[in-house]
């Protein structure tokens, strides 16, 4: 425990949770959505590796997204956003498409498919953020949710009693109780694979390296470089999300490079771990409890 155990920047969440100094460095995901091609290999690899059950065949009518959201049975979710032109933010001018460093579209291909469409596609593979200050972990009353030696956050399924508190405590809406099972499930960052020195299944399967796995410090450096690169190439809307240790959750273990506002991808713009206000809440509760004592005592005092 340290001064920032509940809120604020925290260099070493695993150390703060009690692991000795021999624990491995904090690992995470850097999901660079500028090179995501929406193949959903991450979704499939995750389901296969972790034996996450099918949750029904559902056509949602939202571009190519038929997964909808992260949940008990979807630990990776690829979002598809269709936007007119090169338009990013509201009110911005149309811009010519920019080279993102992807394999080039040959002129011959352009001749076949015709004009470049006045359209852009945002694709992003979302995942549990493995927060520095994880709301789900803080509120878990059984100790089923725990901080691993890799500083990730994992549910122990033999402990979870399905109280559902974590579901409401997650500011990203990630963790969910599985129907018919009753327990809470979410991404484990392939805790089993990490033990064997392997990268998580989604990162392994990603064909464009949109999902990068590694020590978080390295990923943060790489991400900062990538944003700089993109800005130089004129992709001024590129921005990082979840990288900042000073944000409301102390920074995410899984962070993103986005090409538009987070809410466009279904992410909260400024999430805060509920635990930040725990002290204030208990103080108000203490005052209210005192008021109740006052009411009860005064009901008896003096009169018959």
């Amino acid at each position: 425990m340290s001064g920032n155990s509940f809120y604020g920047p925290l260099a070493d969440p695993a150390g703060d949770a009690g692991y000795d100094e021999r624990h491995p460095p904090r690992v995470g995901f850097f999901t660079d959505t500028s090179v995501c091609i929406g193949c959903k290999a991450c979704e499939v690899a995750c389901k296969e590796w972790n034996e996450v059950p099918d949750d029904g065949f559902d056509l949602l009518g939202m571009s190519f997204d038929n997964t909808g959201e992260l949940g008990a049975n979807s630990w990776r979710h690829v979002a598809f956003v269709e936007q007119p032109g090169g338009r990013s933010g509201v009110g911005e001018d149309l811009k010519a498409p920019v080279d993102l460093g992807m394999p080039e579209l040959k002129q011959a291909v352009a001749d076949v498919v015709g004009e470049r469409p006045d359209f852009r596609w945002l694709m992003s593979s979302d995942v549990c953020k493995h927060c520095t200050h994880a709301g789900c972990l803080d509120v878990c009353p059984t100790g089923a949710l725990f901080r691993t030696e890799f500083s990730t956050v994992v549910v122990q399924q033999d402990i979870c009693n399905g109280c559902g508190y974590c579901v409401s405590a997650c500011p990203y809406g990630v963790i969910e109780r599985r129907e018919g099972d009753g327990r809470a499930w979410k991404c484990t960052m392939c805790y089993d694979r990490l033990h064997d020195g392997l990268e998580p299944a989604c990162a392994k399967a990603c064909p464009t390296d949109s999902i990068q796995f590694g020590p978080l410090d390295e990923l943060r450096e790489r991400a900062a470089l990538r944003v700089e690169q993109l800005h130089e190439r004129g992709v001024t809307e590129a921005r990082l999300y979840g990288h900042d240790p000073n944000d409301g959750v102390g920074g995410d273990g899984a962070f993103f490079l986005l090409l538009d506002e987070p809410e466009v991808y279904g992410l909260p713009p400024d999430p805060v771990v509920p635990t930040r206000d725990a002290g204030a809440m208990w103080r108000y509760a203490g005052l209210a409890a005192s008021a109740l004592v006052g009411i009860a005592v005064s009901a008896f005092v003096g009169r018959r």
């Binding site: 939202m62 979002a79 956003v81 509201v90 709301g135 803080d138 509120v139 009353p141 059984t142 100790g143 089923a144 402990i159 979870c160 009693n161 399905g162 109280c163 559902g164 508190y165 579901v167 409401s168 405590a169 997650c170 500011p171 990203y172 809406g173 963790i175 969910e176 109780r177 099972d181 009753g182 327990r183 809470a184 506002e261 809410e263 466009v264 279904g266 909260p268 713009p269 400024d270 509920p274 635990t275 206000d277 725990a278 809440m281 208990w282 108000y284 509760a285 203490g286 005052l287 209210a288 409890a289 008021a291 109740l292 004592v293 009411i295 009860a296 009901a299 008896f300 009169r303 018959r304």
Partner: protein, 315 residues
């Protein structure tokens, strides 16, 4: 009931209008638990006071009421788990960062006290004469006092339980919910007491009910204009209707308690109104939270405003 639109609908962007947060996994049983826990706490305090001031009927009614309602609330708590047979996993840890863990221990402290005091009242005369009966009877007072001492925790921690989440309507309301809940607990505990005891002993129950109702309604009224956009979760839809009825019944019950004086029928009706008002308050607050997770505006708009204000301040 038509809502007057005071401000134009907030502009915000989202992913196909889908909700960002998860709808709480809890159902109506948690709202029922909140109500019964409050009722039990209010009754336990009333029972201890009645014990100390020599009001045997009020003592009996309140102790039994505290026992029955805490048993009901525990049933709902366990039944709402995804794996009810694992309820005892709550007892593996004591975790200050988890209000549910703290609540588990508060209830574990409260339960035996309220239970023993209640059981002592329910013992048949035959049992009272043997040594177990005499021991239980002798322990009833300390048990009841212990229950009364822990009862304010039972009545107030549930507000932290709801507020310590990412659910906008519950989290933003954290300065007010504890007062709504303890007021509601006093109103319901008092309401139950004055319904079931002779008019001559009902004085403290009536005073507690009226003061509790006043606190509940005042805190609830103070809350709404101070929540910004999130207030809409309380002032529209099902949550609004439930809370409107709650206010009508609570105020009506309190007025009836004051002006009804010593007329038994009026006190019974007022007590019922206070109980119903307290229950509807909990269901209303619960529903407001659920509604606030189901529309992304409650997440995006306030957070976006916060970011805009921050970047303006940094400029």
């Amino acid at each position: 009931m038509k809502e007057q639109v005071a401000v134009p609908p907030a502009e915000f962007r989202s992913y196909y209008g889908r909700q960002i947060l998860k709808t709480p996994a809890w159902n109506w049983m948690i709202a029922a638990y909140l109500f019964l826990g409050g009722l039990s706490a209010g009754s336990a305090m009333l029972g201890a006071g009645a014990d100390l001031t020599g009001r045997p009927t009020l003592r009996k009614v309140s102790r039994v009421g505290a026992l029955v309602s805490i048993l009901g609330s525990l049933y709902f708590l366990v039944a709402d788990l995804g794996r009810p047979e694992r309820f005892h996993h709550m007892l593996r840890v004591a975790k200050p960062s988890s209000p549910m863990s703290m609540g588990t221990w508060i209830l574990s402290a409260y339960g035996p006290g309220a239970g023993l005091a209640g059981v002592a009242e329910l013992m048949p005369n035959r049992l009272r004469r043997n040594w177990i009966g005499r021991l239980v009877w002798w322990l009833a007072r300390p048990a009841g006092l212990w229950a009364a001492a822990t009862a304010p925790g039972v009545a107030s921690y549930t507000a932290v339980l709801l507020s310590h989440t990412a659910v906008p309507a519950w989290h933003e309301a954290h300065p007010y919910l504890p007062f709504v809940f303890t007021g509601s607990a006093a109103a319901s505990g008092g309401g139950l007491g004055m319904m079931l005891v002779p008019v001559g002993e009902a004085g403290p129950a009536r005073r507690m009910a009226v003061a509790g109702a006043a606190l509940e309604v005042a805190a609830s009224r103070a809350m709404e204009p101070r929540l910004g956009l999130v207030a809409e979760a309380y002032t529209t839809g099902r949550a609004h209707r439930l809370r409107q009825w709650s206010e009508v019944l609570t105020v009506g019950g309190a007025v009836g308690t004051v002006v009804g004086g010593r007329r038994r029928a009026v006190l019974v009706a007022s007590g019922l109104a206070l109980l119903a008002g307290s229950a509807l308050q909990r269901f209303g607050v619960f529903e407001a939270g659920v509604a606030s997770t189901q529309n992304p505006k409650y997440v995006v708009v306030p957070q976006r405003e916060r970011l805009t204000a921050e970047s303006a301040a940094n400029r």
